[in-house]
Symmetry: D2
Subunit: 341 residues, 4 copies
């Protein structure tokens, strides 16, 4: 069945599989010390215009969030997130599992506001009893957010300004980073984003890889013995090449951005298709995730012909569903969609 | 350079890459709920003769050890391991990171003895102060061990008898399981092994997969909400298909055992080559890891022509090194080795 | 300076110190195994009308919350609390430190509503992705709340009904339990409260003891090897007698309730004093904590003559402050207060 | 029954109870911010000759070990202890509970050797795979040890030299510190000890207090926001005065050392009594804990007349038992002991 269920419904971009084939029999050292990890790291640093960055590869997004947050926070600190942030809502308590609280600020279509962040921090330090509270020690945002929205450059600058004022790092979850950067509404480049945070990751799993995320500590600020800490979290792959080769491929000949651009093109067409048929959108998303409000009857009917994601109940009789495009979405998929809705 | 550095120097067995190619564009559901995970699980249950087993796929070995141990132990329990066991010595404290102590018994060429296990448990319960100590709550052994040795059926039965007497589960780390089962010294089958423990895993990473281990809870005894707990540990891959397809392939047409048998054949030839040239072995390993004692001069000289692993210092002037074979070791590799040593 | 800063400004009720003196030279066994712990436990079970209860003594409130919650929850569960609950806001992340998330529902003058609890649980189980979320595994309420308010019997019954429907335990934090039970607005007894939850604790520190809380698992439902788990948390006092003797004294001749009644009498007089002078209350508290809204100038002036607690900013020019009474508050203290405000 | 079961069988030294009485009604601020904590801290810094030290009070020994170790270690580090060290053997896994491994070196009558510590560290850094292992990040010794033995100044200097060479802190568990310093075999003073480590604690619970240990970070090296971290561990007493008043009393008029000296005098007499009767000692302890080897028959017979501690089985027919003296041991106790053995 044609599927818009998510951006991880297919395997990997064919170029990635080809490279895995081509390199398959080369004997390489393990645990990320191979030449492909090295090469991918160099290409990423160049693409980010961060010559002093530290780049590491980790298999999945929740794992990356868990490791980055728990290794950068001090014992007594928590991470600030929008209440709708992935680390707050949908990671099965992976952050708390490492002993740290997720401190929340309101989410506005998935985004936090710099002023809410500032207020949380000021309230904390203004409280005489703050030694009995959790210190805000890092800010986490996702880009694009869980609702497909993206921060403007100005919004990012404002958030980062608060972080710098209070000397806490800003961490950007880029599980779908390419789909934000390729959006027509995006007003920053990859290197501008890298300059506006202390650490971020470039999502591979949802942007054409079999698995893998590339963590970039933008100014040589990786936690001490980070490989050891990845190992301690159980997350160090013996065949680190699997991640290195994939990211080396994604950052060759602009594959990462080309893939992302394709998904956005498909998303724009998908929006038109739904709009032309008079469907109601839950919010305006400029990226590859689109949220449509369906009557429950309609939802059931459509569900027999195409796969999409349940998002949340909208009312007694209506539901918000998600249609996602990705590198693997085809024109044929869209034509089929148009024919059935 | 020809390499015997480890059993994870190459990519995946070509049949696995082919299957990844063939299935690449099929839209599949995420997080291990796809048909390939289902199929692989069924094939593994059949191969193990465990119709009631619960099978899960996890990306790496340390991760698997960490998750299985921390989810099966109660808060107040620790896991008993030989002092040389992987969880005790070489996982960067991944078990302790989850809050549990690794309790150790002596290792004899990597193996624990049932009598030492019994003694540890009896001493614990015999101590008036045992409420101030860590309860032994699970037994961990690796098969083959970190030194390539394997337990006899009798030894396994004895260890499992102690576990059952005290009602603690036995967990077998099978990161290199195929290489044990394929050894001429092995006197058990996969299904016999499954009958002699409560949970074990079938290693993929070191036996031909890109990554992945298949955990088998032998009698329907998976921890509650295990998928949620894998997620909490950050270890749930969005594209679960990556693991499902690989294990489905490994358990089709006996690929897993054929791969393993090849590695053992190569290991036996490697042993002959070293023996014929008068090299000294650190111990007799019947599996794919061979430990040779080299003069340091010799080690340095050989290291320029072939890659192998440093294991441990043997004396001031000698070192134990490891030569490992795997599914990817070729007759040519061995001929080259023979020509240079 | 006369102080209404908190209910822990003085040492212990004199009768407690006397008993510590009288028993001081008796050789007793350690770690809570002494006869005074035993006797206190029996008296508490009788007072609660819970013959099958398990009673343990722990030095402080945060410690008690941390240990009870972390030992009763399964790995994959979190505890539900009002957002203003002590475990959520003012324990420096002590719950998250043990690996568990605090799931929050709104607080209404410190109290949660059964319907909000129900909604959170239903939303959780109704979400298709709940395997990626934290399971609600326990409900935590404080009685009285952090704002001095108390649940009616009906409200408690409704909350407990939700808990039983979903088979999750209800835990009542009774750090100031006596002050609730002694309140004229309270419509339940100690034994009725014990029948409406699975575990609660009777606060000693804030009700006349030097330190100590008595945890009551109401129906023999203490976590396995609870002493061991207390030890693992570092919280097992060698001289368990210190807690046993204090609680044995508090539960002899109704001392606990008499102390509490005195504090409530003093609170009622304090309310009258402030009301007669036209002061504005932040909310109506029927227990020993009273929250007054002061102009900042007034606050500064008063602060030179009497000690009270800063609570929170009310506006640019006004602040909410807390005046607390306790067993140690005297008529003289109140007269002095009346004279200066 | 007369008891030599431990050094925590009685309440507190009478002078401590008197001071608790005298100060009982003074209103004081909470959480260790009161004047008695301040005064006790000043007296301790003076006694240790450490003007820059940070002093904190924590209720119990295991708690102190847990907090000091977990807050001083980095995530990827473990603590090195003799295998017989309290943190390794008898704290119910309290260190591992915080996520850190206890790395062990041999114990010689409870003591570690500097050369074994050096060897462990060198082996670690010499191992090519040390990124897969736990970093030694702190050294823990107890003084006196769990076997009553004490390190000579030279031994301490040697251990501390290794620590400084590798830049890892030395932590001395002084649960029974007074009994070591008062021993005739002790060749250092309190201030010399303070100069030979980075952090240590002065045990109160076993040296005359109801509870409490004073942690001394010898050169202003307390972990950041240490009060917050104590709270996070659930260990911050609301009535911090309870600890402050006790330590203020113990460090007034040399009470701590006088108490300790008395216990050592009693121990020396106890040794004579057993020696004169021909009893066999398990080892020579120069402090307040004495280990005697008893025939099991004799043990049972004696156990009906006097209380002592079971230590460990010596052989099929013999057992090692512990007789401990303390500040509360009297000449009458000893006379009675002499009359029955």
């Amino acid at each position: 069945m044609v599927s818009f269920a998510s951006d991880y419904i297919a395997g990997a971009h064919p170029r990635i599989l080809e490279r895995l084939m081509e390199t398959n029999m080369e004997p390489l050292s393990g645990y990320g010390s191979d030449k492909y990890c090295e090469s991918a790291s160099e290409k990423i640093k160049k693409a980010c215009n961060c010559p002093d960055a530290d780049v590491y590869f980790i298999a999945g997004g929740t794992q990356t969030n868990q490791i980055v947050i728990s290794t950068m926070l001090e014992n007594f600190q928590g991470v600030v997130s929008a209440v709708t942030g992935h680390v707050s809502a949908h990671e099965a308590g992976a952050i708390e599992y490492t002993g740290h609280k997720v401190l929340t600020v309101p989410g506005y279509e998935g985004k936090m506001k710099a002023e809410d962040l500032m207020k949380l921090i000021k309230t904390f330090y203004g409280d005489e009893n703050h030694e009995h509270m959790v210190f805000p020690g890092m800010t986490y945002i996702s880009y694009p957010t869980e609702y497909g929205t993206i921060y403007s450059k100005k919004e990012l600058e404002d958030i980062y300004a608060v972080c710098r004022e209070y000397d806490i790092p800003l961490f950007i979850d880029g599980a779908r980073l390419g789909y934000a950067l390729a959006s027509s509404q995006c007003d920053i480049t990859l290197s501008e984003l890298a300059a506006l945070c202390d650490v971020f990751y470039i999502g591979g799993t949802k942007v054409g890889a079999l698995c893998g995320e590339a963590v970039v500590f933008t100014h040589g600020n990786a936690p001490k013995h980070f490989i050891n800490q990845i190992k301690q979290h159980g997350a160090l792959l013996a065949k680190g090449r699997l991640l290195g080769i994939q990211f080396d491929t994604l950052f060759t000949d602009d594959l990462y951005m080309n893939i992302s651009k394709h998904a956005i093109d498909m998303a724009e067409k998908l929006i038109d298709i739904f709009k032309n048929k008079g469907y109601e959108f839950f919010l305006d998303s400029p990226t590859n995730q689109q949220f449509i409000i369906l009557d429950n009857d309609k939802m059931e009917e459509l569900g027999k012909k195409v796969t999409f994601g349940f998002w949340e109940a909208y009312s007694e009789s209506k539901t918000v569903v998600r249609f996602a495009t990705s590198w693997s979405t085809s024109e044929e998929d869209l034509k089929y969609l148009e024919s059935i809705i």
